[in-house]
């Protein structure tokens, strides 16, 4: 009888600046879930009021956005998604006592002991052992090479690489780096070619990944497998490299376009129809975030404290994956490994993340 008029969920995402294309995907995914729920009568008859706030691509202005989000007094917040903003706004959340579900990859985000922080993501370093394992066990790789960008994110992945390879008795034959903004990777690729490597572990951002994959083909290295992290599965990489040039690309992702599961294929179809663009397997998990929140709110109502509590002991079968909360507030989920073969992504294996509760 004292039902609220709506449940307000604020989505903080970078809508302007360099990261805005990711922001758009984040918003699309969440928006899709919200529309579905509202079309089906909302949460127990109460609609979701979905508000986006531009997190921008800079931290200081991002904080302003966070304050704006808090001022809107939502029941829960999706985002922020840039690790910098998450860390910067730490105290604000604690004070505001609003649960928020982010997508940031930095391992530290959930290590601050803030009970309101949740992350629908797996620490980036966890991908690498899986890649190493796939390389060894699936493809019998013997001479891996490594090429990574000189940035925080890629370096983090590189740090996890040596031990992961060592575990499977592999040792890189050469280690090459490049800088963000580099456009010509001939030198690095040729060095790799000269070592006779049979696989390349490649970490970086979309723009460079695309170029490297393309130049790899141009240099006649089509037989070399490339192992990458989920960024490699982004349609942007495919577009930049050209579809023909990403043959043989293997990557671990949070979602696989090649997953034959009908409910996931259904999701992909709906998404691509709605937004008229190919789905990016990264940054779409907020589709499930909304459903998770809707599910919880349906059970406990709009009380933030109760929502937080429910989130901290989450065990939920979503459309995209199966989610379980660990003790740090990571809503960890299934990991997929896929390969681009014969012009399309094909699922190789799925693996559950080991959850510490």
């Amino acid at each position: 009888n004292n039902k609220p008029e709506s449940y307000k969920i604020v989505h903080l995402a970078p809508l302007t600046g360099d990261a805005s294309f990711q922001g758009q995907i984040l918003v699309n995914a969440a928006k899709m879930a919200v529309d579905e729920i509202n079309e089906n009568g909302g949460i127990n008859g109460v609609p979701i009021e979905y508000v986006t706030v531009d997190e921008t691509s800079s931290t200081t202005t991002g904080i302003e956005a966070v304050r704006k989000a808090i001022a809107l007094e939502p029941v829960a917040v999706i985002g922020p998604n840039r690790s910098g903003t998450i860390l910067a706004a730490e105290d604000l959340w604690r004070q505001a006592k609003i649960p928020f579900i982010t997508d940031g990859t930095n391992a530290d985000t959930t290590k601050k002991g803030n009970p309101y922080t949740f992350r629908i993501q797996i620490p980036s370093t966890y991908w690498i052992p899986i890649l190493a394992k796939t390389a060894k066990e699936h493809f019998n790789v013997t001479r891996p090479a490594v090429l990574y960008g000189n940035n925080e994110y890629s370096k983090g992945l590189w740090d996890a690489t040596l031990p992961a390879l060592a575990e499977y008795g592999l040792e890189p034959v050469t280690i090459q780096t490049y800088n963000d903004g580099d456009r010509d990777f001939t030198a690095q690729l040729l060095q790799i070619k000269n070592t006779g490597a049979d696989a390349l572990f490649l970490y970086g951002y979309e723009a460079e990944l695309g170029l490297i994959l393309r130049q790899r083909m141009e240099l006649g290295m089509e037989n070399m497998l490339v192992f990458g992290e989920r960024g490699c599965a982004s349609p942007a990489v495919e577009e930049l490299a050209g579809t023909a040039n990403i043959e043989g690309l293997v990557c671990s992702t949070t979602f696989s376009q090649g997953d034959p599961d009908p409910k996931r294929q259904e999701f992909i179809k709906k998404y691509e129809e709605k937004f008229e663009e190919s789905l990016s397997p990264t940054h779409i998990n907020h589709y499930d975030s909304i459903y998770i929140l809707a599910d919880i709110i349906g059970r406990v109502g709009g009380n933030r404290e109760k929502i937080r509590e429910e989130l901290s002991k989450l065990d939920y079968e979503g459309v995209l994956a199966h989610y379980q909360a660990d003790k740090e507030g990571n809503l960890v989920h299934t990991i997929y490994t896929q390969i681009f073969k014969d012009g399309k992504w094909q699922l190789l294996l799925t693996e559950e993340y080991p959850v510490e509760r």
């Binding site: 809508l15 302007t16 805005s20 986006t52 706030v53 531009d54 691509s57 800079s58 931290t59 200081t60 202005t61 904080i63 302003e64 304050r67 704006k68 808090i70 001022a71 690790s83 910098g84 860390l87 910067a88 706004a89 730490e90 105290d91 930095n106 530290d108 940035n151 925080e152």
Partner: protein, 324 residues
């Protein structure tokens, strides 16, 4: 009506002071934060006014100086365990020293050359902040330092009082021999030095004053956000600061303060535009520049000028206005 304007004019500082002092009580937490950022930006931009408005030296490195102030404060507190107040003083001093160094290229360069040099300086600082990770925290930034006052409002009041001092001081400098020297340098450096103006010294002082205010403002920024990362100090930010000076009329301290506060708030006001926000924002700036409201005899600036007249130190014994 004109009487009211006259009254406002006479006590403009008081009016601004009162508005700013009651601001925390009439705004929401979020709006208050924007006001705080406005005041903090104003302190910074008034420094830029001395350099760019008075002295005609365009700097696109001001965000980097802000970064130096903020980071120095944070690092001194986090890594060296200094007290906030000592941290503030040392951070400001350090920024002043580094900013003064920027004056040396200005001895030989002007116009676009100086702009490019300062862009370069800004980039260097940003890259260092990103890469000197053990000290600066790299891309993920620095946090966990104490504030000047435990209470945010107190920090704010302290900023407002600082701003008022800065306004009065800058206004006085503008009217002093230093201010005149800088204006002369802007218009004709040869004349300036021929008339006994130590051009290098004046430039050094201008750079160090503006760096000092940038440093101080950086300390306040650190206090406001409690966190900083290199992405907040790009040359795009410097552009915004430069535009604040330009829209304030390039000559008027009060104008600069008002424009700093308005331009800080404008993107927030435009937030409803979502991703086209910055498009509209830059369009407004373009139109403003095109209409040449900056030129000295527009009505708004005339008002500003008459407002600031009362700080004037050097005025001739002949009263203005008694000739036809």
């Amino acid at each position: 009506m004109s009487k009211l304007i006259e009254l406002l004019r006479k006590h403009v500082l008081l009016v601004i002071g009162i508005i700013l002092l009651i601001a925390p009580h009439i705004t929401s937490q979020y709006e208050f934060y924007v006001v705080q950022r406005g005041v903090q930006n104003a302190i910074h931009v008034v420094g830029l006014l001395i350099l760019t408005g008075y002295g005609g030296m365009l700097s696109m490195g001001s965000a980097a100086l802000l970064a130096v102030g903020a980071y120095a404060y944070g690092i001194l507190l986090v890594k060296f365990g200094l007290s906030p107040w000592l941290g503030m003083i040392l951070a400001t001093a350090l920024t002043t020293i580094i900013g003064t160094g920027l004056a040396f290229p200005s001895f030989k360069l002007s116009g676009p050359f100086l702009v490019i040099t300062t862009i370069g300086f800004g980039e260097i600082v940003r890259i260092l902040l990103l890469n000197l990770e053990p000290i600066t925290g790299g891309a993920y930034g620095l946090s966990g330092f104490a504030k000047l006052f435990p209470n945010v409002q107190w920090v704010y009041y302290f900023m407002v009082i600082t701003l008022i001092f800065v306004i009065i001081g800058t206004e006085r400098i503008g009217r002093s021999r230093l201010g005149l020297a800088l204006k002369a340098i802007r218009q004709d450096e040869v004349v300036a030095e021929s008339m006994g103006i130590d051009v290098r010294r004046a430039k050094l002082v201008a750079f160090s004053l503006s760096a000092m205010l940038a440093g101080l403002s950086g300390v306040f920024l650190a206090n406001l956000t409690g966190y900083m990362s290199p992405d907040s100090f790009t040359s795009a930010e410097s552009t915004t600061y430069l535009l604040m000076v330009v829209m304030g009329g390039m000559q008027s301290v009060i104008g600069t303060v008002i424009s700093a506060i308005i331009l800080t708030g404008l993107p927030e006001v435009l937030r409803f535009l979502s991703s086209s926000r910055l498009l509209v924002y830059s369009l407004i700036l373009l139109i403003y520049l095109r209409l040449n409201w900056v030129k000295s005899d527009n009505a708004f600036l005339k008002l500003l000028k008459s407002i600031t007249k009362r700080f004037g130190m050097y005025t001739s014994s002949t009263e203005p206005g008694n000739r036809s």
